[in-house]
């Protein structure tokens, strides 16, 4: 294959593979959320949808839901602002899809004698790009809330915009420690930087060099994704269903997909920045190099497989963590969310930056 | 290859449109947005000049402009909210009394 053709094929393949992975995970997540919730609450959960009598523990429910959403009547309320009402779900889904682009899902591989990065786009502003697109997510919620022409969505939209603005600040600040330690904002370099060892034993993952940053970032991520305990933009006990009260059929399902895609992308970001991305502890290019000094040789194809597998399992774990947290922790009150955001998270993230800077300065000397 | 003057022209157009918005609209919110547009037009010129001349000052200036824009928006909107509480209007021609 010639140059440009090869490039285009690789680009399309990377996008297709990673996109398929993320959307596949979204579909599975909707099932995991319902089934997991049921088992956590001593219920049985969805188990009715079947194909030719095969129920498969309710695994066909996402399919049934998708079909239902597709065939439902698509209506627009009278009071709604038609254009914005229709745009809101798209605004909600697009940033989540865009954010996929900068996440590396594997090490560089050699295909037909050429080096190919397993990442859709390796931008030199990697994380900043991630911030930029995740800052866009608020518009979907706000626009939906405002354009519905109804009070509960409006309140949900207001809450959401205030919440997201507040937590974006500490989310950004909590990552600055990561920039400082790994000396880059390029995602691939951050992952590469996490391959080393700390004190010869611990893998040099973000979570070990930035424990406070990790907790702050995780909390801020949950707030950004509007997940429990920060799901008060759609707090059903007081706001019916929050910003998407007036939505039905496929538009509602787009909001759903956006929410789950945010979870998947958020999980991928946490795995990449704080848990070494595709890095497997002690695994080098040639094989395992255990801290005791012993080495186990592993064939290169298997190394690649292990690394991609490690990334996938990390993402799956953190995606599950979203569900797990949701069915463990109750929702905050609005003033508690604001207090946590401004009076706890913000000072702590500033402290984190300061402490990181101090330690780096002392280590450099 | 694009001539530097193209960027400057674009910058001027954005600035001009923003200025029209500031002088012809009555809605305070839109006037504030037009101010943002003007600042953005200026940023285009700064960034273009910085990158053509190979001087980091262009970028730094644009960065400062963004900071100022953010501060301006925050204070402007706070003022607007305070005024709206008082006057129940966003019409700038009705906000002509400077004391209350």
């Amino acid at each position: 294959m010639t140059g440009p053709l090869f490039d285009i094929t690789v680009a399309v393949a990377r996008i297709a593979v990673f996109f398929a992975f993320c959307f596949g995970l979204v579909v599975v997540m909707t099932w995991v959320e319902r089934k997991g919730a049921a088992y956590i609450q001593d219920r049985r959960g969805p188990n009715r949808a079947d194909i030719f009598g095969i129920r498969a523990w309710g695994l066909f429910h996402p399919l049934a839901d998708a079909l239902k959403f597709l065939f439902k009547e698509d209506f627009i309320p009278d009071n709604a602002h038609r254009l914005f009402y229709q745009m809101a779900p798209m605004f909600s889904l697009a940033p989540a899809i865009l954010a996929i682009a900068v996440i590396p899902f594997g090490p560089d591989v050699t295909v037909m004698g050429r080096k190919v990065a397993l990442q859709i786009a390796d931008l030199n502003v990697g994380i900043l790009y991630l911030f930029a697109v995740s800052g866009m997510t608020v518009y979907g919620v706000v626009l939906a809330g405002w354009a519905s022409g109804s009070k509960y969505p409006l309140l949900g939209g207001l809450r959401s915009s205030a919440q997201m603005l507040s937590y974006e600040v500490s989310m950004g600040l909590s990552l600055i420690g990561i920039f400082m330690v790994f000396e880059s904002v390029r995602m691939s370099q951050i992952v590469a930087g996490q391959g080393g060892l700390l004190f010869g034993v611990l893998p040099k993952w973000g979570v070990f060099v930035q424990p406070l940053g990790f907790i702050l970032f995780l909390v801020a991520q949950y707030a950004e994704a509007n997940r429990t305990p920060f799901d008060l933009p759609e707090g059903e006990s007081e706001l019916v269903a929050g910003y998407h009260t007036e939505y039905g059929s496929f538009k509602f399902s787009m909001f759903m997909m956006a929410e789950y895609l945010h979870m998947v992308v958020g999980a991928a970001v946490v795995a990449t920045l704080f848990f070494g991305g595709w890095q497997v502890p002690y695994l080098g290019d040639a094989g395992f190099l255990l801290p005791g000094g012993s080495a186990v040789a592993v064939p290169p194809a298997f190394v690649l497989l292990l690394r991609i597998g490690a990334f996938v399992s990390k993402v799956v774990f953190f995606a599950w963590l979203y569900v797990w947290i949701r069915w463990t922790i109750p929702r905050f009150r609005y003033d508690q969310v604001m207090r946590l955001g401004w009076k706890v998270m913000l000072p702590l993230s500033l402290l984190n930056i300061f402490a990181t800077g101090l330690i780096l300065l002392l280590l450099k000397k | 290859m694009i001539a530097p003057s193209a960027y400057l022209l674009l910058s001027a157009i954005l600035f001009g449109i923003g200025a029209v918005g500031v002088v012809t609209r009555k809605n305070v919110l839109i006037i504030l947005m037009s101010v943002e547009l003007m600042l953005n037009g200026v940023n285009v010129a700064f960034v273009a000049a910085g990158s053509y001349l190979g001087d980091a000052a262009g970028g730094v200036f644009a960065f400062m402009v963004m900071t100022v824009a953010a501060a301006e928006a925050a204070v402007g909107l706070a003022l607007l909210i305070a005024l709206y509480r008082l006057k129940e209007t966003v019409d700038i021609t009705e906000l002509k009394v400077l004391k209350w």
């Binding site: - | 400057l8 037009s34 940023n43 990158s51 980091a56 909210i81």
Partner: protein, 162 residues
């Protein structure tokens, strides 16, 4: 390629800007403002100013316009109570004045000399960081004071009881 992209994003930016100043409802204006900001960010990318493009989207689209949208929702002026706009003559005069300004700048821009070359790597994270924390450190620090003042001012203005 660069020319095509420049014309495309330039056109989007200008159209968005026109929409911002002509829409009746501020929410529509805010959304078109986002469009313009994105187009301008794309233009920054064309000039290799990746860092500035990212900051443009984060700060403007991610924070400033969200603030606008928040305020629009917060005061939620009904459509019937939006201010009646100025007479057409005023608007035409405004457009004419702006046209004169743009023409003048066009003439000036053609005279203004800049080396015509590929974009220098001045807008990347590394160069921007170096410039901000060495040559322009004082300006950078003063910016933080400005932001602090803005924060305090905004709270003092918008809060009912302090």
């Amino acid at each position: 390629m660069e020319t095509v992209l420049f014309i495309l994003f330039g056109a989007i930016a200008v159209c968005g800007a026109i929409m911002v100043v002509t829409r009746k409802h501020p929410m529509a204006s805010a959304l078109y403002l986002i469009l313009t900001l994105f187009a301008v960010a794309a233009l920054f990318v064309l000039r290799q100013a990746h860092f500035l493009a990212a900051v443009q989207v984060i700060v403007y689209a991610g924070a400033v316009v969200v603030l606008f949208v928040f305020v629009i929702m917060l005061i939620n002026v009904p459509e019937s109570r939006l201010p009646v706009e100025r007479a057409t003559t005023t608007r035409v005069l405004g457009v004419l004045a702006a046209g004169v300004f743009i023409l003048e700048s066009a003439v000036l821009a053609r005279r203004f000399w800049m080396p015509k070359g590929p974009a220098a790597e001045v807008g990347t994270v590394e160069t921007m960081g170096r410039a901000l924390f060495t040559d322009y450190l004082l300006a950078f620090e003063i910016t933080s004071v400005l932001l602090l003042a803005a924060v305090i001012g905004a709270i003092a203005l918008a809060k009912r009881k302090i």
